[in-house]
Amino acid sequence: MSGVEAGEFKIVFTGPMGAGKTTAIAAISEVEPVRTEVENTDRVAHAKESTTVGFDFGRITLADGSVVRLYGTPGQMRYRFMWDILGRGAAGVIVLLDASAPGALVQLDVFVDAFIPHVAHGALVVGVGRTDVPNAPSTDAFAARLDARGIVAPVLSVDVRRQGDVMMLVRTLVCILGSHTAHGVPA
């Protein structure tokens, strides 16, 4: 059963700690996002002061009253069990990465592996921040990583603090969903 038939249309923002998931949801949610942040005790992984441990939640209401739910996953591996819970029934997934973080390319693999099983229409979009930091891998490097796995998904450089960039990610996701619906090979 699709999410819509179940009365739910869900877009999941995922990625490692510090990639900007909470910021991205806040940029486009019509309501103040619900956050489950606590003090970050893993300052080795990221220096930020707080981190998501449950999930972030935001919402977009459409003209006909239907609702798009925006979920942000926790980024740390120790909360991986939440990924499956949040990914289930997702219409699409947006993976956010920080190119300047150590092992950013490996993190792409981790989150794609975790969420690909949940996206029936291949509706996966990758947003990569801080590609302008010296020695950070370019979006082409991330795209090549997907190429090697036979995955054709958009990899877009973004600054999730900019609402326009987050909207670009969501628009891209919706275009993919629409194309699969209208032009996809029937199951």
Partner: protein, 308 residues
């Protein structure tokens, strides 16, 4: 009487001044009304023959008729429109009328067309080796140099800005033994190729085939390149399956020119692959009853400012 735009390029100041003066003298006597214009908007170029020939080759590659100006010591070059300086009014008038006749005989021609294809064709040849250390160079009609090599394109910041705005014409790249200034701004060669494709002519690029289906093997980075809704739609559709150009035009509902430019851009940037000659099957969405999913997507698309 048609109005034609002309631009002098590379002339010495005194020659340029004489040309401008003569244009006012021939006004009303020529088959066309001649207006001075910037090089990119000009229908005709009025160019100096001085130099090593590469500049004139660049003007010629724009596809615009070029009136070649030679001095009185030069031998007559094998060019269709030649004028010797110092000018005589009747000679200038004769050459301008010849050019006007040429343009009148080909009203449907896309001015600037060959230049864009020639630049694109040279890019196609060079892109697989664009990471090499050897530099290639081309010029805009304004004389700005654009360098290709090391996987990058280097040019002045204002040149790159015009490229991003789709306002840049360049001629074919050619090898050079020199290097660009070390501090010249750079963009990725594949990004440059994307812009060249997008600013190309409206018709299908000569290296693409009408009966071949194409699909996207990789998305462009719209975060870097800038995006419009139409491009997003075309990329999404071309990810789902391969389309012949005509099928993509029909299914997307977009202008053929936009689809052709998208295909040219994607292929030049190395993002497009041919997928045999299969025709895209009939659209599944046509005529079917809207499901809840369709309605929902339609609502979401409207909310996001996409066509429903």
């Amino acid at each position: 009487m048609p109005t034609l735009k002309i631009c002098d390029v590379g002339l010495q100041p005194d020659t340029s001044h004489a040309f401008h003066s003569m244009l006012t003298i021939v006004a009303g006597r020529s088959k066309a009304a001649w207006q001075l214009a910037g090089v990119e908007h000009a229908d005709v170029l009025f160019a100096s023959s001085e130099g090593d020939g590469s500049a004139f080759a660049a003007w010629g590659a724009t596809g615009k008729p070029v009136v070649l100006v030679i001095d009185d010591r030069s031998s007559w070059p094998p060019a269709p429109f030649v004028l010797r300086h110092p000018f005589r009014v009747m000679q200038l008038l004769s050459v301008l009328d010849d050019v006007a006749d040429l343009l009148a005989a080909s009203p449907g021609r896309e001015r600037g067309d060959p230049s864009r294809w020639s630049a694109a064709e040279s890019l196609r040849a060079l892109m697989p080796q664009s990471g090499n250390a050897a530099w290639h160079v081309t010029r805009t009609p304004l004389g700005e140099e654009v360098w290709l090599g090391h996987g990058l394109v280097r040019a002045a910041a204002r040149t790159i800005a015009r490229l991003r705005a789709g306002e840049l014409e360049v001629a074919a790249f050619h090898p050079t033994g020199t290097s660009p200034p070390a501090d010249a701004p750079a963009i990725a060669a594949c990004d440059f190729a994307w812009y060249v494709g997008l600013s190309g002519p409206a018709r299908l690029a000569p290296w693409l085939f009408a009966d071949v289906a194409y699909r996207l093997r990789r998305w462009p980075d719209f975060g870097r390149l800038g995006v419009n809704t139409g491009m997003l739609e075309l990329c999404a559709m071309s990810t789902v399956r391969a389309w012949t150009p005509a099928a993509l035009v029909e299914a997307s509902g977009q202008l053929a020119a936009d689809v052709h430019r998208f295909l040219a851009a994607a292929s030049l940037a190395g993002l497009l692959v041919a997928n045999g000659s299969e025709q895209a099957p009939a659209l599944l969405a046509r005529g079917r009853v809207q499901s809840g999913w369709d309605r929902f997507l339609g609502g979401l698309r409207r909310h996001l400012g996409l066509a429903a």
